[in-house]
Structures are given as C-alpha cells and as structure tokens.
Symmetry: C2
Subunit: 397 residues, 2 copies
C-alpha cells in the first residue's frame, strides 16, 4: 500500500473533510483567554464610555465663550466648580463633562492665574468631548464567534466589565510513541535502544499550536498493544501515533488504524515523510507520523497542525516566512512536495540574506532540524531551485 503514493494536498483535503470541528465550549476568566477562540458573538451590554467625558486635560467651557480667542488675544474665563456663561471648570481626561459645558480647552492652550483662566484658542462645540458610546455602542456586536482573542481584544471585554467569556475547548491530542527500540528519558540506553523524542516533539508542537496534549507511555511494536493504546487514546479529540508506519515487518500502525476505523491514506508524496498515514476512528482524526524525526516533523507541520486547526476552530495563521537567496542548488523530487531544511545566515531577517541548504543528511538526522532555521518547500512538479534563486523560507517555530 505504501507504494501507492497520494498527493500531499489531496491527502490533506481528504483527511480534513473526514471529521468535524469540536462543538464543546467552556467559560473562562478573560485573563486566561489569550489566543483562545470565541464561541459566541459578543454584544456590548453597556455604552463605552457610559457618560459624556472630557477627552483632554484642561477646562470645560461653553464653546461660544471662546469666540475670538487667539494666541495674542486670550479670552479670560472664571474658574468655577460649575458652568455658567463666562466660566470654566477644570477637567482631566475621562472626567464627566460638567452640566452646561460643550467643549474642553486643552491645558496647553491656557494660562491659569489663580481664579482666572486665559484661553488662547477658539474652539468649536464638542471639541475634546467624548460622547456616550463613542468607543462602543450598547448592543453592538463587538467581536464575532470564531475570532481568536488577542490581548487588545481582551481589553475590550474588560472595558465592558466582562469577567469571563465562552471559548471553544482546546482540542485534546493523545500522542502515542511506538517502537521497541525506544527508551524513556532517565533510563540508561543499551545497544539497539534510543531515547524517545518524537512523542515529546509532537506534544510540544500541538501545545504551541493551540491544543492540549496527553503523551502516552512508549508502546512496543506489538499490534495488540498498539490497538489497546489507540482505543484508550480515543478519549481524546485527535490521536497522533509516532513510528511503525513504514513497510517493515514490525510496522503495524496503519493496519491497526484500518482495523479500528478507516485508513484514508498510507504513503504520501512528501519528502521526507512518505510513510505518513492518515485515518479516522470514530470520527476522530488520526495522524501516523513516521519514526524518522525529520519526516515526523514534516508530518506534524503539514497534517497534524491542519487537523488541530479544524478541530479547534483556529484561524489559518500566516506562517512566519522570510525571503532569502539560495547559497547552492537544492534538488526537488518530482512527485513529492519536498521540505528542504535551510540555515539562514545572519542577519537573517534582512532582505538578501542567504539560505544555506542542510539537506545533505537524511530524515533520521534530528540534529539537522536543530541546525535549520526553516524549510524551503519545493512543489511536486519542480525539479529543484538553483543557486542564487530567491526562495521563501518557512521558519521552523
């Protein structure tokens, strides 16, 4: 089945169309909602401001009293506690406007002499006055369902006096590392053993991208044990299984998916990452990422992230990219979407910076990712990019 290779975009589309976003929501204190997705429209319960206010520090006046004032011909007003003709009242930004006043002269345009205020500018009615509802009108829809809350949006909720808000629940992603050669950190390793890294990496990316995660203990290459772990993982909203996706004698993962649900694709035109498999069990998306760490990372970026977004109502986010000039040729692979690792030469955020390919190593070389700043993605139909060509580099977060 692996030799039958699906197109990367088609596989992703097929996968994403096979499950629904989560509908469950939770109510959280607004200060815990940065990055969370609103689960309902927000209608303003009050006007902001809810009273007529001064928009500057200065003196509230009757605008017509300033008629004829200028920089060399001040009008003189009496400083009072309330407004009457020829009087003014001290206000500061945010003060309620005194009854009868219709404008505010900025303090910079005045000189105060005990009980007299010289006004050096003529102002029109409503100048420097904040009307009721000027910022937010009561009953207006301020933010819509599906909006991802930023700190400045949360400040809006606070300005309405809201203490909590309904957001979509974060998708819970269960992550199952498989492989009889894997050993948990903190243990000694012997010949034939390596430390588990892919499950941890998957867990950290899923959290970074907006999910909650549950990282399972390592499962050995035994189809019954894998099946049992996947069944337990179905409490979660999504499952990622690392390893066991190839065509080796011990690669049981795709057939386990097929036995429990629907194996949609196995063998995808991404390089590295060809052994990736995608499936659905009980309506839940399952990503089988290759055990080779670089291939696993590509599967996370291209498939697991997309599934997480759909589940969690997360908006398509712009990838952080930079444009750079290739220091040498990078070969593509016809029929594969190739993710070539590159290092950017500092100062790497500037135009004209150079991208140095690191593709000399294979998909098993985790350290090549750590040396890489990003991927250059070469489409299926392109033979490669030449030395000196300007390319877009997707930064590895």
């Amino acid at each position: 089945m692996l030799r039958k290779r699906s197109n990367a975009e088609e596989a992703r589309e097929l996968f994403l169309n096979a499950f629904q976003p989560l509908s469950s929501t939770e109510i959280l204190p607004i200060e815990d909602c940065d990055g969370r997705i609103l689960a309902c429209d927000i209608k303003a319960a009050i006007n902001v401001p809810h009273y007529r206010r001064a928009a500057m520090d200065g003196f509230a006046v009757i605008a017509s009293d300033t008629l004829g004032a200028g920089s060399s011909s001040p009008v003189i007003l009496n400083l009072r506690k309330s407004i009457e003709k020829g009087a003014c009242v001290r206000v500061h930004t945010g003060s309620p406007m005194p009854a009868g006043a219709d404008a505010v002269v900025m303090v910079e345009d005045t000189v105060l002499h005990s009980e007299k205020v010289e006004v050096f500018t003529q102002i029109h009615p409503l100048k420097n006055v904040g009307e009721i509802g000027e910022d937010i009108q009561k009953d207006d829809i301020i933010l819509k369902e599906g909006h991802r809350l930023r700190p400045c949006d949360i400040a809006i909720l606070a300005s309405l006096g809201m203490g909590s808000v309904a957001v979509f629940r974060k998708p819970l992603v269960a992550i199952i590392p498989t492989g009889e050669e894997l050993v948990a950190r903190g243990k000694e390793i012997r010949e034939g053993e390596v430390y588990e890294t892919n499950g941890l990496m998957a867990s950290l990316y899923m959290r970074k991208w907006g999910g909650d995660t549950k990282l399972f203990d390592i499962v050995t290459d035994d189809p019954e044990k894998i099946k049992e772990a996947v069944k337990r993982a179905l409490d979660a909203d999504m499952v990622i299984i690392s390893g066991g996706t190839s065509v080796g004698k011990r690669d049981y993962v795709p057939s386990v998916i097929g036995s429990l649900g629907n194996l949609l694709v196995h063998g995808i035109g991404i390089s590295p990452g060809k052994p990736t498999a995608l499936g659905i069990i009980k309506g839940k998306p399952v990503v089988c990422m290759p055990g080779y760490p670089v291939a696993g990372l590509v599967a996370l970026y291209f498939f697991a992230r997309a599934a997480l977004r759909k589940l969690g109502h997360l908006p398509e986010e712009q990838e952080r990219t930079v444009r750079a000039v290739l220091s040498e040729k990078i070969p593509g692979r016809i029929g594969f979407k190739t993710f070539a690792r590159v290092k950017l030469e500092t100062p790497y955020l500037n135009t004209g910076s150079r991208a140095v390919p690191l593709a000399i190593h294979g998909a098993g070389i985790l350290s090549s990712v750590s040396k890489a700043d990003g991927f250059v993605i070469i489409p299926e139909s392109v033979e490669g990019y030449d030395k000196g060509e300007e390319v877009e580099v997707v930064l590895i977060e």
Copy 2:
C-alpha cells in the same frame, strides 16, 4: 517637559542602553522549555546513535555478496541469525548492525522465500548503515547559549537523554494601573468611572512575549501612593505603569520616576503615544504607558517589548507582516513615527489584499484596535501614504 519630544528610535536606544540583561537562570524539565532561552552551551554527553545501526528495514549483508545483483538477476542469500559469507540477517530501522555486516539491502529490493532471500540490487559498503555519532558526535556543542528552544531542539535534548536544562529566568514584569477613574472588573461603574483595561492588556502582552507578570491593584492619582506602589514593584525586573503620564494636574507618574531614579525621556515622537515616559530605577527599566489604550498599546509594542527582550535574552523576532494595498490615503505626522491602525480585507494573507485605514478615531478608542488587524508604521519624515500604495502591515498579535 512633555513638549520636548524625543525621537522614537533614539529614546529606545537610550533606554535599552541603560540596563543589563538578567543573569539569573533556572533549571527546568525539558518539556517545560518551549520558547525558553538556553543559559549555557549544550555539549553532547553521548554519541547519537551510540551504536552502529540499520537505517532501513531489510537485510544486513556483506556488501560484496551482492556483487552482480540486478532487477532480473538476483543474488540469493541465506537468512541467518548471524552474518557469514553468503548469509544475511533481518534488520529493521534502528536495529544494531550484526557483527560482520557492512550494508543493508532495503526490504523493497528483496523477495523472501522461507530461508532464502533474493536480492535484486547491488549495494556498496555502508549503504543504509547509520554510523556511531552520525546524528550527534559526543562532545560536540549542539546548541548554544542564547538559543531560543523550539520543540525540535527539545527533541535533540531528549535524544541525548537530558531530562532538564538551564535556561534564563523569565523577566518578571510588575504592572501598575493608575487613575482615580479606574474600577476593577466585577464592580458597578458610576459616572466618571471606567473599567481598568490597560494593565490587563500590558500583562497579557508581556506574558505572550516571554515574561512573567504581576498585575497590581489600581492605584489612584496620588503621588505618595504611586511612589509606594513603584517601590513595592521594584522586587520585579521591570515595571510598567499605565496612566498619569500626561501634563495634567494629576499626572504624577514621570515625577515619581524622577524622584526614585532617573527619568530618561518624557514625551516621544510616536503617534499615538506621545506622553510615553521611560526611566530607570535601581537599574530596572520602567515604562510609563499613556492611559489612552491605543497609545498604551503602541508604547507596549515599541518600548516595553524591546526592554523585555533585552532583559530576557530573547532574540529579535520577526514581526508577522503582510503586504497590502491601501484603500485610502493615511496621513503621517512629520516628526512622529505614526502607527496607523488598518483592517485587512479577507482573504487577508494573499498578495494584493487591501488595507483599510481605521485612523478616523482617536487614541482613546480601544475598539479601533479590536477592529484592526495591524499597524502601518509611517516614518517621521514621511507625510503619509497614498491610496493604492503598497504598504507593509505589522499584524497585531
């Protein structure tokens, strides 16, 4: 003093040169280190892999035994438990190489008949063999001090068997909202009162950008009370004070900074945000952000974020930006770095998308930020950008 206006970049430079990065570090479990900054170089304590391994599923062989094999002329080897001339041993990706074998034939290039293996390709020595230290060489410096750890880097630490790592402590930012008109959420507001929003917004941005925060209770406009709060805040690594930075009668914050330490600048050529003040108390950076929320946001983006980065050894991060075409003219303000809020029309990540200015409202209008997708930054010497001009939009996170 406010009328004396500092250039934005000069003010920032002066400010950043007036304090040192934090030197304190902490040791954390690696799974808690996404986004954290390494406080030491990481030297590999082991080789990865630490044994000679098969890099493919297949059969370990003596390469010279495959001489002459081809797709129509297989060589036949005996399947054994150990290597001898004419024999092969089943291996899978990651298996230790059997003694005497020097290459691996991929399973795809073989056909197995009980105890005999037909090999359809000739391979050279070391083919599909992962040498000791191929990924990471013992004693190599794998990651350097100052590197921001990504999930893929943490996977590298895991591959070395590391359970914890030394990172720089997150800067602790104390945030003091000031203003006698401010009311905490959960209370009723009366005329002349508004809910506190800036302190919350500052706290959420500082956390998003890599700090820890401590949000103080609201302090009224009383210089002694502000002074007392600032003194308590000096337990933190950095202080942000919101409000009270203007020239009104109740704007005591800059003079409090001056009395406790060194007020570096007050009045900066940013629009909105002119009343921003910057100072140093006991070697700790203090940002006084204007009470007007849009101005406060600009001060956070331009000054507080830069200070946090320096304190926390955080690398300069690329802003998320998109290019868009202005739907109408936006005016700059000569002598000011102007932050014009714009909304992007969907699909806003595509080339040729339109940026619609929202600058019709003033700095007091928080809802204009919530409607905005980003800022167009107009330099001090530019009169504005014309309708139809392509501009860079810095997305508001």
